[in-house]
Symmetry: C2
Subunit: 115 residues, 2 copies
């Protein structure tokens, strides 16, 4: 399998697994859902919590990952899941992971790819 296809597949597997575990329990009174946004053309991947619980509106991007120049850019993770560790455990080397939530200036100090 070529690297891009492997990375696309892996990112989608990991995010779908997190989304299943963290999914809102279906409840006919609630209008809250967990969405997957997987764009294999533009190479953007997202898990989103969205909707209504009574008077409370939720619109919250839990994960956002891009694949760019053959690397996995973790742009956002507001969950308790260790996505970096899980990607490495699945064989992605540090030099193919960008901690994009750190500024370009700080990235040389992360031990991961700068860009």
């Amino acid at each position: 399998m070529d690297k891009l296809l492997k990375y696309k597949t892996l990112v989608k597997e990991v995010l779908a697994s997190y989304a299943r575990q963290g999914a809102v329990e279906p409840d006919s009174k609630e209008h809250l859902e967990t969405q997957l946004l997987f764009d294999d053309t533009n190479l953007h991947y997202q898990v989103l919590r969205i909707g209504w619980q009574g008077i409370q509106n939720t619109f919250s991007v839990i994960f956002h990952i891009d694949i760019k120049d053959g690397k996995i850019w973790v742009q956002r993770n507001i969950s308790d899941y260790d996505i970096i560790g899980d990607l490495e455990a699945k064989g992605i080397p540090k030099e193919d992971i960008v901690l994009a939530f750190y500024s370009p200036k700080m990235r040389p100090y992360t031990g991961y790819a700068e860009a």
Copy 2:
């Protein structure tokens, strides 16, 4: 063209057009970009501003639209574009548009579909 295909095409056209008009000017010093997330399988569509300008991190979902049960659900629009008006101008009837940023309880008063 069947209705679902028509609505998918139209939503993508409108969002891509907004994204082009509002796109960040390319600047080698900046790390800010406008992204399109188009998921034709799960029927979620998004425009996102993401990245870094100096020490400032941006992660901002400008538009989020779902297609559900044959209707266009406008979940979010934090831009100045009149997306509802533009969808109607392109021939989408009010009964196929859900103002999902209003709570289910308030939707009967919007003049658009409730769900």
